[in-house]
């Protein structure tokens, strides 16, 4: 177990580094931030001064080396925009995104499990067809569109939900989560349905029935756990999408998350913040992947054995 974690961490390091370096280089290809941060009629000298102060005049590799040295000391630099430490900004925004992603994924999984199981019990029946169509549709609605529609209907027409923000307690979660959930729930429903159909047709389910197990027991105890791994993989990918890309929903609902921070810092060429934000999300994505592997192991002892043995 520990060796597995150690090994996974080690193999995760090169990609992690690649992501951070990639962001570093790519960000710098988008031009010198001096124009954005200096007054419009700043002198060429002032611009040079600015670039020199932030090291943007150095060749990119030497900036990179400096940066890595900095990061090794856990210093991600300061924001050009706010003057705050970049790491602080990234770590402040991340929990908001994480909470949103976690709740969204949990709900999406719950919905997908319920609907997927229900559809799988009567494959090709009416319920199945309807839920399939709905899940495909759910997965293909543009999120920002839905967000604005949601605000219009639920906040303004019906007046039951706040439009946006985070401080209206539980209610402020409803719309962002509903919007974010739709696609994951749609995609997952299809996966769960497929996996459940396969599981329900398997011999061990027959055996369970031959022991006199009722439908509930068959689904809950026997089929579901076997259907979980494929759903887990897909859920992982969807969660990565949420952690990395809830930009649209965050910016519409004023959710102070990392997606918004990232896009703002890209648009503002606030490299330090961008790098810190990407590092935080990349690390969390790698942690998530490891968690998913462990999840497999938890679900399936065959994998557990491999995980345990991998040294």
């Amino acid at each position: 177990m520990l060796t597995f974690l150690r090994r996974r961490t080690l193999t995760s390091l090169p990609p992690l580094l690649a992501v951070v370096l990639g962001v570093f280089v790519l960000a710098r290809l988008t031009g010198d931030p001096a124009a954005l941060y200096l007054p419009e009629n700043a002198t060429a000298q002032a611009r040079e001064q600015f670039s020199a102060a932030h090291g943007f005049d150095q060749p990119i590799w030497s900036q990179l080396i400096d940066y890595l040295a900095q990061v090794a000391r856990l210093d991600f630099g300061t924001s050009l925009r706010t003057g705050e430490p970049a790491a602080v900004m990234a770590l402040r925004a991340f929990p908001a995104t994480l909470q949103l992603a976690v709740v969204t994924m949990l709900l999406a999984c719950a919905v997908a499990t319920a609907v997927g199981c229900w559809a799988a019990l009567r494959p090709n029946g009416l319920a199945d067809r309807v839920s399939s169509l709905m899940s495909v549709t759910a997965a293909s609605v543009p999120d920002f569109w839905l967000a604005i529609l949601g605000i219009w209907v639920f906040s303004i027409m019906l007046g039951v939900l706040p439009t946006s923000g985070v401080d209206a307690g539980g209610l402020s979660w409803v719309l962002p989560i509903a919007v974010l959930m739709l696609r994951p729930a749609g995609v997952l429903t299809q996966v769960v349905r497929g996996a459940m159909i396969a599981a329900l047709g398997s011999p061990y389910v027959k055996v369970a029935r031959s022991k006199g197990a009722g439908e509930g027991r068959v689904v809950a105890r026997h089929a579901l756990k076997n259907a979980a791994p494929p759903a887990l993989t897909v859920a992982g990918d969807l969660a990565v999408g949420l952690i990395n890309g809830a930009v649209v929903v965050e910016s519409i609902f004023g959710w102070p998350g990392i997606g918004k921070l990232m896009i703002d810092s890209i648009l503002q060429r606030d490299f330090a913040v961008l790098q810190a934000a990407v590092a935080v999300t990349a690390i969390s994505i790698f942690v998530l992947n490891i968690a998913i592997d462990l999840g497999y192991a938890l679900l399936d002892s065959r994998v557990r054995q491999k995980v345990g043995a991998a040294a």
């Binding site: 054995q305 491999k306 043995a309 991998a310 040294a311």
Partner: protein
């Protein structure tokens, strides 16, 4: 049948890297010093329990696995040392029929495509598509399928028919040696007889040699000239079929023979069943000394200490790897 060995295997070992077992070992010795010879036109039966390494041996001979140790000589050449075109030429001489007629045929190809597949690689064999089509028809005929079957997909055939397709494919390159890895064990009794007859016919007509792998003793007894009994990665006994069946010298062989249920009441009544203790030990953690000792009713301390060898034949052409070979006459009396 000539006496010069066509295929000669010596000290062949193959181990797989696997997740660590309970005793912390991660090398699974699937083959552990296998010696074997196959003569021209002969059928060598290879029997053994599941997991003892039969398929691994077959796959190694087909160059699907690279051995850790040991040599393979085919007509005097080592196929593992061959380079491209030579290797291709060698491939034509040795072909394989797989155990599972369902899994060994690509479900997306038609019969004709499956049979003709080797020629995509061996392009010089038949140059025109007309030649190929003609040859496919010949092969179909040879294995007892109808020409109309050429355009059908494997799923449209029964198991026996699929196995015929597999055999036709193995013959497509004109092989001299066909390695049959349990070719009939997935088939029904009535169909099994048909396929065995077909293999027999082909041998007569084409004088191919078979390495015939099976776990069904009655089948091996029927098809093989000589038999090799495998246990946990080693050949423990070899000899002429009659010898082995009537006069087994290794306790394992004897146990195997006695465990096989028998149809004839006479056999049943004669035989005293030897119910072996336990099951095949894990090849990850083979017993010391003689590998069979954990299940052997004759085992002594010697067996745990020194691995037996088959250096001296127990009788001409009959070797048994055992410290305490069974008494020839006693078993003959059975």
């Amino acid at each position: 049948m000539t006496d010069s060995p066509l295929l000669e295997v010596q000290g062949l070992s193959k181990s797989f890297h696997v997740p660590k077992g309970p005793n912390g070992n991660d090398r699974l010795r699937a083959l552990d010093g296998v010696d074997l010879t196959l003569r021209k036109g002969e059928t060598l039966g290879l029997v053994g329990e599941s997991g003892c390494g039969k398929s691994t041996l077959a796959r190694t001979l087909m160059l699907l696995e690279r051995p850790d140790q040991g040599t393979v000589r085919f007509g005097g050449v080592d196929p593992f040392a061959l380079r491209k075109s030579e290797l291709l030429r060698w491939r034509r001489r040795v072909q394989m029929v797989f155990q599972d007629p369902y899994a060994s045929l690509n479900p997306r190809l038609t019969t004709a495509q499956i049979i003709a597949e080797p020629w995509h690689t061996h392009r010089d064999l038949f140059r025109t598509s007309r030649e190929r089509a003609a040859r496919v028809r010949e092969l179909l005929d040879l294995v007892g399928l109808r020409p109309g079957d050429a355009d059908r997909y494997p799923q449209e055939f029964s198991g026996g028919q699929r196995q015929r397709i597999g055999i036709a494919r193995a013959l497509a390159l004109g092989a001299e040696v066909v390695i049959c890895d349990e070719p009939v064990s997935a088939l029904d009794l009535s169909v099994q007889a048909q396929v065995l007859n077909l293999l027999n016919e082909l041998q007569r007509a084409l004088s191919v040699s078979y390495l015939f792998i099976s776990h069904d003793l009655s089948v091996v007894r029927h098809v093989a000239d000589r038999v090799a009994v495998m246990y946990l990665g080693r050949i423990v006994e070899t000899g002429a079929t009659k010898e082995i069946f009537e006069n087994p010298r290794h306790p394992y062989t004897k146990a195997l023979l006695s465990a096989a249920p028998s149809l004839r009441r006479a056999d049943r009544e004669n035989k005293q069943k030897i119910l072996l203790k336990g099951e095949l030990p894990s090849p990850l953690d083979p017993p010391s000394g003689c590998r069979f000792r954990t299940r052997c009713w004759q085992a002594t301390d010697l067996c745990a200490e020194t691995p037996p060898t088959s250096a001296d034949p127990v009788s001409p052409g009959h070797t048994a790897e055992c410290h305490h070979p069974l008494d020839a006459r006693v078993s003959a009396a059975r």
